[in-house]
Amino acid sequence: MTDQPSAGSGEPIGPVTMLATPIRLDFDFTPGVAQSRFLRGLERGTFLGQRCPTCHKVYVPSRGTCPTDGVATTEDVELAGTGTVTTYCVVNVPFAGQSIEIPYIAAQVLLDGANLSFMGLIQEIPADEVRMGMRVEAVWVAPDELTPSLASVRYFRPNGEPDADYDTYKEYL
C-alpha cells in the first residue's frame, strides 16, 4: 500500500479504498551450456547456431540437442545477420512497462543459413509496409554496449533486397 496516507502523517485520512497486491517471482536463471554459447555469441555481435550431425539442420538458438534426432549438436555455425520475415504481428495494445512506441512489429525472422526462425522487432519501416518474405538485417547496439543478452540486437530492418520467394520459407511458418 503506497498510495494511502499514513496514519502518522497528521493529515486527515479517508477510508481505505485501494490495496496494492503485487505478484512477484524471483528466479535464479541459468541458460545452460548450449544457450550460454549462443548468448556469448550475442556479446560478440554474432548469431551462433549449431548443426545437427544427423539431419544437418541448423538451430539458433541451439538447445544443445536436435529435437528430431535426439543427438547432441556439436558443430557451431556462425550465421550472418540477415534473414527473411516468415510471419509477423502488429502490436497496437499498450501495456505497463512497454519500452517502444506502438504500433510496432514483432516478427519471426529466419536467419540465412538457419532452420529455425527467431523472434525479433522490425523497425525503420511503417508497420503497414511489413510483409512476409521481406528481407531484413540485424541492427546491433554499439560495440561497447554488447551484453550476453538478446538486448544486444536492437531490431531488424529492411536490407533492401527483393522479397524472398515463398518456397524458400514456407517450411518455417
Partner: protein, 153 residues
Amino acid sequence: MADSDVLHAKHVLEYPYSRSVGPVIGAFLTALRDGRFVGVVGSGGSVIVPPTEYDPITGDDTGELVEVGPGGVVESWAWVSHPRRKHPLAHPFAWALITLDGAGTALLHAVDAGAPDALSTGARVTARFRPAGERVGSMSDVEAFVLEGGAAR
C-alpha cells in the same frame, strides 16, 4: 566450453496490481489501520470476518458492520519450522484459523507462539498490531497473533 562460460542471472517477474477494495472490505481494512477488527452481520445473524458484501450461503446483502476481537480462539493450526522470505515472521510460527470474539467465521493469520508445544487447538490468542504510524490498511497491519497471557517472543 569452460564452466565459467555458463551464464547465470537473476530474473524477476512482477505484476504491480492494485485493486479497488469496495465499501465492505474497505471498512475492514480501514479498521485494521485503526488497530481494530470489524465483521459484518450475515443473513442468519452470524458475524462474517473478514466481512463480505454478500452472505456466502444465501447470497443476500450483508448487514451492519460490528466490531469483533481482538482476542479469539485457535480452531486449527500448522507449524512452520522454516519460514520463507515472504512469510510474516522470520522465525518459526504457526498458520492458524482464528475465530475472533464475536465472529462466526475463522480468519487465517500467523500465531507467534515461540514453539509448537506452546500452541493447541482451542488456545486463546490476541492480535499484535503494528504501531499506528506503520499501519496502512492491510492484513499485515496485524503483525501476528500471540497467546493470551504471553509466551510469544
